[in-house]
């Protein structure tokens, strides 16, 4: 009787008799260690599946099957717009996370030498003038956002003019409308974060727009802008929408949008 648990299957002896090379030995030891705790074998099938997916042969597309390339080649670049907007979104996410290290969303008077500057504005000038590659970082963030919005607009036009929204893709079209709207909200909230004159007065228009909605206008203005005049609450809300709320929502929706395209297949030109 020993307190040590017995190795029922004696994996060690099995490994001994296998005459393994050091690499194989380390690999098996790690695998056994992980498997004992996480039961990896139960998920091996998933890995196997993935392995075969990587080596998948793409089936011949409609255009290849009917040799229509000579007719439609000029449409093809337009079919890349969806992935271009996704790539731009990823670039914006990375540069945005880096910018987030240095930006502080406060409307109180800032410590920099500029007259009437807020803390937010001062952190922006610090990013642009004090930090190595800070100006480039902001530039990349802004341009990737612009490019994403442009690509999303053009993507919508492509889908419209090639009739790709028709059955069975209606739901994905509506999801796309939601996504393009959220992209513009993303842009708008980011536009306000600089807290310069343009940002402030664009925010003012936003408040007036929400106030002019019948019945629920005041409630909407309170919810989104944190009041009827712009201030610390507005900036904070824009910041949280821009760096917390929207990234989760938009990323999830993009995943669903692309997942549906994957399931239904690309609507090829006919």
């Amino acid at each position: 009787m020993s307190l040590e648990r017995s190795d029922d299957h004696d994996h060690d002896a099995w490994m001994e008799q296998k005459n393994l090379t050091p690499i194989e030995g380390v690999y098996l030891t790690v695998l056994l260690w992980l498997d004992k705790r996480l039961r990896v074998v139960d998920y091996l099938e998933v890995l196997e599946n993935l392995y075969y997916k990587v080596n998948l042969q793409m089936p011949k597309s409609h255009t290849e099957q009917y040799n229509l390339d000579n007719k439609f080649w000029y449409w093809y670049p337009l079919y890349a717009l969806g992935s271009f907007s996704t790539i731009a979104y990823v670039v914006a996410a990375i540069s945005g996370a880096l910018l987030g290290f240095y930006y502080s969303p406060a409307a109180a008077a800032g410590a920099c030498t500029i007259d009437g500057a807020s803390v937010a504005y001062c952190s922006l000038t610090a990013i642009m003038t004090d930090i190595n590659f800070g100006f480039m970082l902001r530039s990349i963030h802004r341009w990737s956002a612009q490019v994403m919005t442009a690509a999303v607009f053009l993507h919508m036009l492509r889908v419209y003019f090639t009739g790709s929204y028709k059955e069975p893709r209606e739901l994905n079209w509506i999801l796309g409308i939601v996504l393009i709207s959220l992209t513009m909200v993303f842009g708008y909230t980011g536009y306000l974060l600089t807290w310069d004159q343009l940002a402030y007065w664009a925010g003012q228009i936003g408040v007036e727009m929400s106030l002019s909605i019948p019945l629920i206008g005041e409630w909407v203005a309170q919810l989104i802008f944190g009041g009827f005049s712009l201030g610390q609450a507005t900036l904070m809300r824009m910041y949280i929408l821009h760096v917390f709320f929207l990234p989760f929502v938009v990323t999830a929706l993009i995943a669903v949008h692309i997942g549906i395209v994957w399931m239904q297949g690309i609507a090829e030109p006919h």
Binding site: Q57, A107, S118, S139, T162, E170, W173, G187, I213, A267
Partner: protein, 266 residues
């Protein structure tokens, strides 16, 4: 190996392992032989779950029949493999595109205006360019009807009217798939809806110009610009419709000629 292990453990540790123990190693003991299987449970359920189950069974059968009837033959190699061919191409395109963004940001750095000042309204108030259309729709006041019933006053405030116009535009775009049905894909196959699309694009461009009219050259009269905003989209739409209809004639002629070459009329 793992299966053996668990059954061994069951047999050695269990005190009263009768026939009731499932042989699949789960160790779940059914109360008696009358206990329904999961399949039977599904069949017996009522209401919505029952309906769902029946529909899934039907669609599965439909799929099976389609598969049986199809003449599709799977070939060994249909096209390029995903790895490396497709992946390398995608990576090249991605890097080129990211490079383009970096090039743009290096050559055209962004602007940062004067700090926010609530007491001084600037001459130019603008959202980012992609919101110009929405900004322009807020300036539709002159189109807001003055109703005679209400003694010449407006039913909606001009600002409410503008916000409503936004909703109407987005709502219309959202229901397009339910208005335009059928299998037509190319613009030439659907001149009307392509014309609607061109109308929309030109309208978006014009309403954006209207939104920034204080930046446009002074030789355009604001009233003329306002009229053009609603006139040009129709012109563009009609021209598109005409061109595509004319193209469709030729297109159909081509298709028919090909068809009759393949199957000459008797």
């Amino acid at each position: 190996m793992t299966r053996d292990n668990s059954t061994d453990a069951d047999e050695s540790s269990g005190t009263d392992t009768g026939e009731g123990v499932a042989a699949d190693g789960t160790g779940i003991v059914a109360p008696d032989d009358e206990t329904p299987t999961w399949g039977e449970r599904k069949e017996r359920t009522q209401g919505l779950s029952r309906l769902t189950y029946e529909y899934f069974e039907r669609s599965r059968r439909e799929d099976q029949e389609l598969r049986n009837d199809s003449s599709y033959v799977e070939r060994d190699v249909l096209a390029f493999p995903t790895w490396p061919h497709e992946m390398v191409r995608n990576l090249a395109l991605t890097s080129f595109f990211v490079g383009l963004i970096i090039f743009l940001s290096a050559t055209l750095p962004p602007h940062l205006g004067a700090p926010a000042n609530p007491s001084q309204t600037p001459a130019i108030i603008l959202p980012d360019w992609y919101l110009y259309w929405s900004f322009g729709l807020l300036k539709l006041g002159p189109l807001n009807p003055e109703l005679a019933v209400l003694g010449g006053s407006k039913l909606l405030q001009d600002s409410t009217y503008g916000v409503l116009a936004n909703l109407v535009v987005v709502g219309f775009i959202a229901i397009v798939p339910f208005l335009n049905k059928g299998s037509a894909r190319r613009p030439v196959e659907q001149p009307f809806w392509s014309a609607v699309g061109v109308f929309g694009v030109v309208f978006a461009a014009m309403i954006s110009t209207l939104a920034i009219k204080n930046l446009t050259p002074t030789w355009i009269d604001p009233h003329l610009l306002f009229d053009l905003t609603f006139f040009l989209p129709f012109v563009a739409g009609f021209i598109t419709y005409g061109i595509l209809r004319a193209m469709r004639e030729g297109y159909m002629f081509d298709l028919n000629r090909r068809y009759y070459r393949l199957r000459p009329p008797r």
